[in-house]
Symmetry: C2
Subunit: 824 residues, 2 copies
């Protein structure tokens, strides 16, 4: 909703009857005077009250030459949500009264504005109805309804008694919804002096305030009234206030465009981007705002190259070289869920309000030896959601990586204490999986196996041993399991459905578990008994290793590994360890055994894969509730979706047997960790709200539309289908199968919100040097069939997409179509 | 503002004229009916309009038996900020019209409520004037004025056309200021149906909505009017709505108390606290909210022990055993600035609004290969504030510890590349200081020297070499420098003022620099040449080592160390290193030399010590601007105050010569770091706002009152005093000196917002086992001379206090008095 030539202004009111229509008329008149040869559009999407009073008629009468449109008109002079309920007949200015849902209103407004841009209009004034938060016909608050467009706002203030309060409150409601309120305009009133007060107040927010003379009092005779109003409009539309306001609208418009177009150059000169090789040139995405699943990003086609723009910038003219109908901003589907964080959509007003309340109530308050409601609420909610009786303690940190560091400190202490290892013994490592990634802190990176990446750096010191796990992909519609040769069995197995992969009983009968068990035992014996190595933890991303390349690990292998470790505690005590303490500790029911098992659910947990806990996928009782305590982790780490995608926050949960390993009467035996913003109230409040909202979505069956598409798969296994759909994705099963049949595709994965496409590499290229995924990524950025383009991220030769938990089916279906076409 | 027996309710209005007084009257009547034998107080702090219409008169007339009070009354029926301007004479109900500042209003209201608690009143109704955000006499918005009291709110909604919007907006303005809006009450209106809509809307926020019949129309005859109103009040005050509302007020009151009193037990059962030895029992502070420098915490004297409370809790009665006049909440000065984070006060409405806008506009948007305005704005602001031409690149992470990890990755790569070290060489360490602490991540903890704490853990691997630095304390009014014996010189030196310590020219003439230089050179030669060790960075907390025990390091020593390292690049190349590359690189002006110098300004930077950058203290040009580029760091790390104390966010800045060490055409040579929430928009927006606000405070001379108190010291050195006060503290110089003279005190430190008191240890105790600081800490929690108690943190035998940049002088003076008395 941004073009070089067209300035759009949305008029909101501090209340009803504050003069929105008069201000709109004045502005339309002044805009028309400023650009007499180009069009000016006045748009009133929703209007209530008698047709003869309609604002479009007012505009026609007093601002001749301005095109005016009314999309929906209701006779009753009440709030639109009531008027719509009883409305039967459409009226003057309305195109259609039958479809008054939010989407259709916004789409209509959008298409009118787009049309005015295409037709070379210079100004469009969009007048809202009632106050800023008055309900739309659907009952959605107006400021929420129009938020996807995020048009620059002029707020008409209230000049009456009490108007200071209502004007500032209306501004705050718009501001917290992410609008740019650039200007406030209100009638001058000598007695109440609201204008003077508001001018000072809004100056501190960088907002200009304009005062206008009050309109004349209503006359008895219609003609007198019209004459007086005509005089008023003529005079005031030429007044300093209005002409300054018109110039200000132009100025803000150009400033915004120039700002957006200069951002990539500024970023290139001062920003050191995460994980970016600055030696390779790259187009930066400039993000103006975001809403729901979509970024509003600068359309690269609309902006000229930076060199071209330099002279323009100096002259104050925005460096744009597109035709008049090329929009500067375009919606991009946030296909990486903003690095795997999004769950409840960008700009979610509930989360913004929750964050603001916590900021207003607490700011940040210290958590050392303190308690506050948001931290306790989030802790209780998370523990109950995980439904793992092994977990009872909550430790806060700031991100997944620090959460893992905390888990490591916990596990290594617990193991060292039980097995009687001291610091003078040889270093204790971790057991993990090849292809794992647990975060960016140095010690967490040391917990992944040597690779092209970490081998290159000067501080990497591998710190453990990593199993090469069997992994799965869907190929030509069938799930294919790849087993490493070293396991001494067939190297591929096939499964007809996800249900079959997770059917542990059947697979045990088929002998899969035994193969794994033998391999794991012989490996551990070699490492510990033969080589004398010491391990202090198993660290495991349940079923999906994200950063390592979206590797779908055979859950039976992870399950078996946990069982073997838990079942052989004596093995881990090693030669020097004391096995005695190990055996006594087994008496307690949820005590850890063998090694503390750390589940890194940072990426996979909290509904990313459709379930509250991704560890539940390892449970034999194929149930979304985690009750299979034999397999449940002793420590689990949560971040990313923990705040619904708004703020950094991490939680490491652990059981009492781990907690107790730190108890003593010496301060130095405590768990030495605690960032300054530990359990910050804003993050905890947003976290508690997010978990509640996500649980609500699950309970209310918000995902049933998606789940139904995977019912056919469950039906293959009748005994399972009765239990409901346990394995499903936001991505349609039929589309996923079709993608897996493309001859450009090596395989696909879909579960919960994640879709991964493993592309075949070109001849002579390995995964890392292949351009196949990057090419597909570029294609997605160029196609806008669904009214948007798709912004995605790649990992080597894997392109992945991630929905949020509130994505709508139409958007995802559109993306699937684009993908299928691109890979044909 | 919370007692067991007294329920206080603050009535805010969605607008003026929505019926606040009628609702208040109804509630007062109903409260009186519910507790006929106890008092009910109606309080109207500020009233405008003719005395004969005053709300207190209305209450006397229609709610007999209710005590009513009006604190300030203005004749003119306009907003109080205008009425106050012209008011000359006080009227009925007013005690005093001369002093209408914010503080005096709040203090008066507070004392009236306290009195009603003491007198055994059951209910107090506080009616505000106009809408929620109407200005107080001073111009402060009413909701901000009363925020320190944070009374439970009943919002009177607007039943008229447009009232849905104004009621929700008014709620949002109160909500983002941290109020608990428990209930909304409004007149029923059949046509507009606002009540039905609002009921649904507020239910989702957990708020109860009540509807009341509209009052009768005004009658011509005063007596008729009074009769009708009497009838209305009698009927409605017995209606279901009002009786339910009264029960609801009681319920919310008990629920809040019971919630507060159960929090410590809940925390003990599920929380694993940071840096806490759970094996040692401890009283947890329950924080209800915070504002400015103060927590509102549960008064431990008011709550019975948990064992006692258990049966009460079951019966739904709050477990309180105090007399009626013991408040449940007490204000505690946040003496650790919430773990060193606070700068702009808790619950700062500007920061809350800024956070909400960013949440509404962006949520979190991915920063990989992307740019958005808040990140760029914060980056530019920080770089310009640091004024260090060596720094040009900004890398984002989540906290000080990860910021240091990033700095390490940067420095080690730069050094390894220049000196041609490969990963196969022996590990590269860091140079640092004994007593340092750089954060909780495992690798950052490895960057501090072995100590009681990290020696105890299983993952600690010391990673460098640490100088034992000369350090300073004020003793008996004089600054005393302690030099380690190994430096082969006198072990103590004295300075009359801070100016003398930082007067590097004079100290160089006196030979101090030479002593340090020789010691540093001989140490480095021994380590590198004799022992063949390799170092990749110097990591340095400028002048004050925080977590290590608030150690004031001689700045001349740090300065000299930087100079020696920069001046001897060949030394660091080591035996295997290539010196050739080292020499050529020196050609570039701001290229690093010797070792990359990392300034850990996480704690000391961003005005914690009164200056934008704490590295500036090492500058010879004694200027708050950092222009002494010979000494300026190559990398600096910032967190804590970066967001003014609201949210986790960290920045590591570096120069181009460091940045260039990562450039290549290979992705794996990039800096491998990037948390999911990198440069999250909310944190960056709040950061940019905070830096702007802090700079504003500095420029506007907001700290002059404090600085003047340290002018006497500067005057000792006349040439310096002309330049303004460069070395000053928020803590009064005279008080600091007096504290240093106490015979219980070993020494003190004060600079900027930090005051540290090093206590003498008892006989036979070392610093770690001494109880001296903990005893003083307890004393501070027990004394409430300034109307509050002081919550502080200790480090071994050091008790420290930290102001925010917006602390007021009266509070700090009160604390100084308490300290001086406690240490007499």
């Amino acid at each position: 909703m941004l073009w070089r030539d067209l300035r759009v202004l949305q008029i909101y009111g501090a209340n009803t009857n504050v003069g929105k229509s008069i201000v709109s008329t004045l502005l339309c008149k002044a805009f028309k005077r400023k650009s007499p040869t180009s069009g000016v559009l006045y748009l009133k999407p929703i209007s209530t009250g008698p047709v003869e009073d309609a604002d479009t008629r007012h505009i026609s009468r007093f601002a001749p030459g301005v095109k005016s449109e009314n999309l929906y008109q209701f006779q009753e002079p009440v709030s639109p949500h009531l008027a719509a309920r009883s409305a039967q007949n459409s009226s003057y200015g309305c195109r259609d009264n039958s479809d008054i849902g939010d989407v259709s209103i916004v789409e209509k407004v959008k298409s009118w504005i787009e049309r005015s841009a295409r037709d070379g209009f210079r100004y469009t004034v969009l007048e809202t109805a009632g106050g800023s938060l008055s309900p739309a016909p659907s009952g959605t608050l107006q400021a929420d309804l129009y938020r996807p467009l995020r048009l620059p706002v002029c707020l008409v203030g209230d000049h009456r008694l009490g108007g200071i309060a209502s004007t500032i409150s209306a501004f705050e409601s718009l501001h917290i919804r992410g609008y740019d309120v650039d200007s406030v305009i209100l009638f001058h009133d000598k007695v109440y002096g609201n204008h003077e007060f508001l001018q000072d107040h809004f100056r501190s927010h960088g907002i200009r305030t304009f005062a206008l003379p009050q309109p004349p009092a209503r006359q008895k005779e219609a003609q007198d009234d019209e004459d007086l109003m005509n005089e008023y409009y003529d005079d005031v539309s030429k007044s300093t206030s209005i002409t300054e306001m018109v110039d200000f609208v132009d100025h803000k418009h150009y400033f915004r465009i120039s700002n957006l177009s200069s951002m990539p150059a500024l970023a290139e000169s001062i920003i050191w981007h995460p994980f970016r090789q600055h030696g390779i040139s790259q187009n930066l995405l400039t993000i103006d705002s975001a809403y729901g699943d979509f970024f509003q990003g600068v359309n690269p086609k609309s902006v000229s190259s930076l060199d071209d723009s330099a002279p323009h910038q100096k002259s104050g003219i925005a460096p744009i070289r597109q035709g008049p109908d090329e929009p500067i901003l375009e919606p991009l589907f946030d296909g990486s869920a903003s690095w795997w964080t999004q769950g409840l959509g960008h700009g979610n007003p509930d989360l913004a309000l929750t964050a603001a309340h916590a900021a207003g109530r607490y700011g940040h308050v210290m958590f050392a030896s303190a308690a506050h409601a948001p931290a306790l609420e989030l802790s209780s909610k998370l523990l109950s959601m995980l439904a793992n009786p092994r977990l009872s303690r909550v430790f806060f940190s700031d991100n997944g990586s620090t959460g893992i560091e905390v888990a490591l400190k916990m596990a290594l202490r617990a193991a060292s204490k039980r097995y009687g290892w001291s610091r003078d013994d040889e270093p204790i490592g971790v057991l993990g999986f090849k292809g794992s990634y647990h975060g960016d802190c140095i010690a967490t990176m040391n917990c992944s196996e040597p690779s092209t990446y970490n081998e290159a750096v000067n501080w990497y010191q591998p710190w453990g041993w990593w199993f090469d796990p069997p992994s799965l992909k869907m190929r030509n519609g069938v799930w294919e399991l790849q087993v490493p040769q070293e396991m001494g069995t067939r190297t591929t197995f096939q499964f007809q459905s996800l249900e079959h992969i997770f059917d542990y009983d059947t697979r045990t009968h088929l002998g899969h578990s035994e193969i794994y068990e033998q391999f794991i035992m012989s490996t551990l014996r070699r490492l510990i008994v033969d080589e004398g190595r010491k391990f202090g933890a198993l660290i495991c991303e349940p079923i999906l290793m994200g950063a390592g390349g979206m590797i779908f690990v055979d859950p039976l292998f992870q399950r078996t590994l946990v069982k073997v470790i838990r079942g052989n505690p004596a093995l881990f005590a090693g030669v020097s360890g004391s096995t005695q303490s190990a055996s006594t500790s087994m008496e307690k029911s949820f005590d850890w055994s063998g090694l503390p098992i750390i589940a890194d659910e940072v990426f996979t947990g909290i509904y990313r894969l459709g379930r509250a806990s991704s560890s539940s996928f390892l449970s034999k009782l194929q149930n979304t509730q985690l009750v299979d305590t034999d397999i449940a982790p002793d420590i689990s780490v949560h971040a990313k979706l923990l705040t619904g995608g708004l703020l950094p926050l991490a939680i490491t949960t652990a059981g009492e047997s781990i907690f107790n390993a730190f108890l003593s009467d010496k301060k130095q035996d405590a768990l030495l960790h605690g960032h300054s913003y530990t359990a910050h109230a804003v993050g905890c409040s947003v976290g508690a709200k997010s978990l509640a909202m996500l649980r609500e979505l699950e309970k209310n069956g918000a995902w049933q539309g998606y789940q139904n598409g995977w019912r056919a798969s469950a039906a293959n296994n009748p005994s399972e289908s009765e239990k409901g759909v346990q394995f499903w994705s936001f991505w349609d099963q039929v589309s996923v199968k079709r993608l897996s049949e493309s001859n450009k595709v090596d395989g696909v994965f879909a579960l919960g919100s994640v879709l991964a496409i493993y592309l075949k590499t070109e001849d002579g290229h390995s995964g890392y040097t292949s351009n196949a995924a990057a090419d597909l990524q570029s294609t997605l950025l160029g196609v806008s069939d669904g009214g948007f383009v798709v912004h995605s991220r790649v990992l080597g030769n894997v392109l992945y997409l991630m929905a949020s938990m509130t994505s709508n089916q139409e958007s995802l279906a559109a993306i699937e179509k684009i993908l299928i076409r691109a890979l044909r």
